[in-house]
Symmetry: D2
Subunit: 435 residues, 4 copies
């Protein structure tokens, strides 16, 4: 997480201030619950809320206590006692530090997930808008980087829309994975705290109780969360690479928006480089890489060890902040993408009609030519075109073995671009629903 690739709302989730605020809420809700079941005085719980609700927790003060105690939650509780007064002794009764830490982490991840889901929604909006705008803009479909058959630019964006719809569903599932709360004490047995406290705090914090915690909330949940972020990042990479390809000098079918005053290169002022999508490509590598330490975090020793903690202090912010930034950047790229239909048409026309060879092949077989013969006929007319020695349509019409099977009109029909787009509506309906 570095400022250059951060946005404030996501960054704020991970500030010490946010963390201490969440800690306070967990502790205060737990104290209220303890009061409700008669373990601590109701007045004490009220006092905690009264003094703490609008308090500012002094990060520097807490840090200085932690420097001595080497224990962050004790440092916080010590500071809380300074704010609340003697009633503070009823706070944290029967709880263990991880009850606070793990529940807090999950609150932060839930909030991060909410932002990421909103980010994907914004990206989906942009994709849908541009997909509909270019629903029928012809462009060449490419496999292996080689011209294949025509598609529309809208179809490319519809594919991305479908992919990010899946990513949205995955993020919702990932959010669910980590939306749990543990207030279960030293080794998760509720020895010193009633399970009703956990249920109460969970409800208040928008979480559900963790069925079995063992001081910690099990890390398979978090691994699934971060792996999901890695998948979303991989989809971003796919879209980024598509745009980078389209912006290549020789292709130039689309371009990232280039703002006034922006300089592409100190050396080559004419250059307009796809730096945003290249940047997203790199960010995707980072987000993906965080899935691994998250998976290695699962196998904690016995009821817990603390090896996961340093990992999460790093990837918690790093993965969510970076993915948030990359999603937002991609949304901007899509919204403002410069699309060049004329260039798309020029590229489409480039191969002298060879992109229709599959259709010719099919027409030949449907006219009774064997698959092997049809293939041979198409290939012998295609190769000269490929070498720049003629136009596919003309050559086919001049090939007597071809004209034995197909009339000139039938051959010409194979070169009708619109033919390829007759099911675009079907696909759009699958993706966006019927209008």
């Amino acid at each position: 997480m570095i400022p250059r690739y951060s946005r404030p709302a996501m960054t704020a989730i991970w500030s010490p201030e946010s963390r201490f605020r969440i800690w306070f809420e967990i502790e205060a809700h737990a104290t209220t619950a303890l009061a409700e079941i008669g373990v601590v005085p109701k007045a004490a719980a009220d006092k905690v809320w009264e003094m703490g609700r609008d308090a500012t927790f002094d990060v520097a003060r807490i840090d200085s206590i932690e420097a001595v105690t080497k224990h962050d939650v004790i440092a916080f509780l010590t500071h809380l006692a300074e704010i609340v007064g003697p009633e503070a002794r009823f706070v944290h009764q029967g709880m263990t530090s991880s009850d606070v830490l793990d529940t807090c982490l999950n609150v932060q991840l839930v909030r991060a997930a909410d932002i990421l889901i909103a980010d994907v929604d914004a990206l989906l909006d942009a994709l849908k808008h541009r997909a509909q705008e270019h629903k029928m803009t012809p462009t060449i479909g490419r496999s292996h980087g080689i011209h294949a058959e025509p598609v529309t630019f809208g179809l490319k964006l519809a594919q991305a829309y479908a992919e990010f719809s899946r990513n949205r569903a995955r993020l919702v599932a990932a959010r669910e994975e980590i939306a749990t709360c543990a207030i279960s004490g030293a080794v998760g047995t509720f020895a010193n705290i009633d399970p009703r406290v956990e249920e109460y705090v969970a409800r208040k914090m928008g979480l559900s109780p963790e069925p079995v915690s063992t001081q910690v909330i099990p890390r398979d949940r978090h691994a699934m969360f971060f792996a999901t972020l890695g998948i979303v990042a991989s989809s971003l990479e796919r879209l980024a690479i598509e745009i980078r390809h389209l912006q290549r000098t020789e292709v130039l079918e689309a371009e990232e928006y280039f703002s006034e005053g922006q300089k592409g290169s100190s050396a080559m002022p004419h250059k307009r480089n796809p730096v945003l999508t290249e940047n997203i490509t790199g960010l995707a590598r980072m987000v993906r890489s965080y899935a691994l330490p998250a998976m290695e975090n699962v196998a904690l020793w016995h009821e817990r060890d603390i090896s996961h903690s340093s990992v999460e202090r790093m990837i918690g912010p790093d993965a969510t902040v970076t993915l948030d930034f990359a999603l937002a950047r991609m949304t901007g790229v899509i919204e403002k993408l410069l699309v060049y239909p004329a260039n798309m048409q020029r590229n489409l026309d480039r191969l002298g009609g060879l992109v229709h060879s599959q259709r010719v092949l099919l027409a030949l077989t449907q006219a009774g030519v064997s698959r092997e013969d049809a293939y041979r006929l198409v290939q012998r007319n295609a190769m000269p075109v490929w070498r720049g020695e003629g136009d596919f349509l003309t050559l086919l019409k001049a090939d007597t073995e071809v004209t034995k099977a197909l009339t000139p009109e039938q051959i010409e029909e194979c070169f009708d671009l619109g033919y390829h787009f007759k099911h675009v509506d079907t696909i759009f309906a699958r993706v966006f629903g019927r209008a």
Copy 2:
């Protein structure tokens, strides 16, 4: 995927014979669908089924054709024509190789997922059985590898049960991710094939149609699938490491079953090593590692490139076969695990009562002592015990500052082991449901 770590049912999914059989079914169903909408003769479709239904596809023959054509699907279709006769020219009409390859891969992954889900079910059964058997077997809970407070051995297994229940749900979701079918032609536009063919084949093969395919089914689906396998593997690693810890010479609370005739070591015949769970630990590393190339496969160029193919030829079998083997091995380990309650009790007693310190701390604060003072009192009696200079209960009773707050009976109550287990029922009900 190596024989040593393979089981036959999963391995069979990936055999050439299975693959060609699935290819045949896809092609034959597609031909039937084409016949139903009048594109090819009904009789041709019938002939394909008639000749192919019980045919044995000659792997060596197909390989030898591929050696010339360097194209696997063409090689198969050529061989199919040898079996079916001239009607074979109606097969594969308007389709592209990837329609067959990608749909086949998903069929294989779905079948693999079904086996993995069954594997997890078997493991869940074993965990549940052993959890109930040891529901109230006391053992020490450990954080950081250090004795914390008592838990039961059943709770440890209930945690694993809850974790693998989540993994089951994740596998079901992962299966859903890749249960799609594409019969959409060269670049996914259905230019030469009606979308109804895809719908028909999907239904027959137990899949749903891919909303937008682009010659290939998008690889974010597969990435999610393999990432999920990595999570399941990480959970296996956690359970494996737990057992390895429990089998340590100094701990010896449980042991892998040791069969007659088995030799632990050529050099140290008394040794009984947790080799199965160590093996699972290594296998987990492998399954986890496959998530990465799967994620890198997402960003194919434009409508497709074929870089994903070599990756999937390797990790398709490797990840599913290895995880299947590891899950089955773990189920055997759990079913036959030798559990030593007496050793658990011995370890529990090892610290002279220090594991009850948290309870004493709580009793002191509940009796009105400040948190700081209570901490100090517990600590000054705990440290001598830790150094082997006395018993915690005796020392506390002799500490006048302690006895000012608590009666001897109140102190003794803090040492009641059963106290810790009063919510085991609650937790079991959360995990296994009310009896």
Copy 3:
């Protein structure tokens, strides 16, 4: 490791036959060394060599013994005793299984490294040959996929040559890392075996003694080995992606060789797809992924645990066989690469001279124009060219602010292509040495 992506020499290293042969050599050399220091009878050592030197070890027989003992080395020794007779009891004296297994693995990795180094040498030869052939073939240099300034195709290949020269040196270092031998007994103390035996076996097997082994040879060595393979694979990916880019329809500056009879696509017979380099791209992902479990293998417990073993049974063959195949495939691609200088020139000319803008910028500043002004002048003439509204040279000559600083001749000089290649010799000399 799958047959499709395997070559026989590398595969043979990992066969059971090779493994048992190496085991025999280790055991027999150790017995000879034991005889030399008087621990076992000289005659026994001679007998071992006599009976075993040309023996065929029966893999099926050893497997069937292992099925009972569940221990591979004991199974082998049992079978060896069947071959050697009673003198076999002097074999393996004071040794532990890992002495055999770990030393054998390193012998296999050393042999694999030798093949990989030879593979890189072959690739270097191909790169050098083609680099010299195209030393002065002009082509456009691209940054961000956008035309930048002219380079030569030979320079591209020289870069690859330099990169693979580094990879060769890394492989030599990686080979050195794992070229060690351990014959140090149960926990590496030489309690029951003299260190001279290790020295003898090491020398005979072409290894050096491991300074401190602890039953096992430390796995940081293997991690470094496999990480190095991951780097080599990443360089292959870079070169593969370069070729895939050059073969794009719109670029078509180079093409993979396309053999007679090969079919690019069942649907589009004109297509010639860069399937070899796409395949290498995927294989690179796999080889890279193996670095991770290798790194996770380092942290074995205490003197050893066996979690590394399953990982190495998989990645030992998988990583080396796959990289060997990918290197050899790339060598073939480079040797037979179809290079199209005319297309390179056509692409170079595509931007109406804009690729010379940097030189114009420099000429302006050298003529006393400020950097900011020069940038502005170049930019205002470049933008119309970019939009297809004129030729850069013509526009510059017509810009009076430009011509105030530069004469027409000075402007024309900026468009001299040869100017860019004056240091090609320098770079070639750095890479290939002076002629």
Copy 4:
């Protein structure tokens, strides 16, 4: 990189101030070199040094320029012109931004490597000191977590010393990998800048010229650098896990130093947790994970794309700062490690002599018993001991089949602990050299 896990010297390398200072040095040295070969006025170069040598570069000012130009090097050069005056137009002549950026990154990585090498040296010192202190402290060697045969605690540390000696050599090689400089212009052809400038700047910055750069320095170098850091981290993990094991309650052979005032747990005041080594375990996961995006960075498009940049802005600091912190933390752990020889002896004695079974086995075979029989004899006496039904020595002496082969004295000799340590000197000499 987060403050909690950072040390100031390493962090300073990555500050904007350091970066701009290095940029200045590169630009100023290049200007001097240009002056020496007569391309720019000598006075201009002098002015650059005069004004810039002690200048403070205004980070906020540069940021605000970059906000408009969206180009960091142009922003810096603009600010530099504000400092230097009109002579600034001679700066950066014929160079491209990457000449500055890439050379700067390598300077930073070289400085980081120097700190890491010094860190490893400090760790080696600590390991050597403690290894010699405990050269002859007996402790049990464990394989699979199970008692094997005796080793000394010094041997464990000597192993770590040998491993980190290798890591030191790897870091030196990794430093060499990235100690290169590129001043080669837009696409690396030196079209507008003489190669002598690169040679001059390289020499002044302590680097060597990159043989072929292509605007960027090739990223296989950086991949190797970060992969090496991942290996070092994996070794740290191994040592951390060893200490965590030794500190387990049931083992307690060593303990992290526990400072006054430190609180292990808010709930269990007696607990002394190995939190430093657990923390290092987590940090190792992070450093290891950075190797992957570094490897993915290798395959830049053509002469360069900028996808590597965001990755390096993150992992450059993250990997080096985290590893520096982890190494230093480990050095502190080793220096102050509390070692408990009495507990080691107690654990050694725990198995009633079974750890000597291998020696008994050997004595039996040397006395003429067949390997199979000897194994059986040892096993039948070992199993009762394992079940707590007797002492190994006593049982062996009472086994008539054993006493047929060995005298009581010979049996007793097998139980001599010192026997295992006779080659400790040999091993220490291998690792630390002869005294």
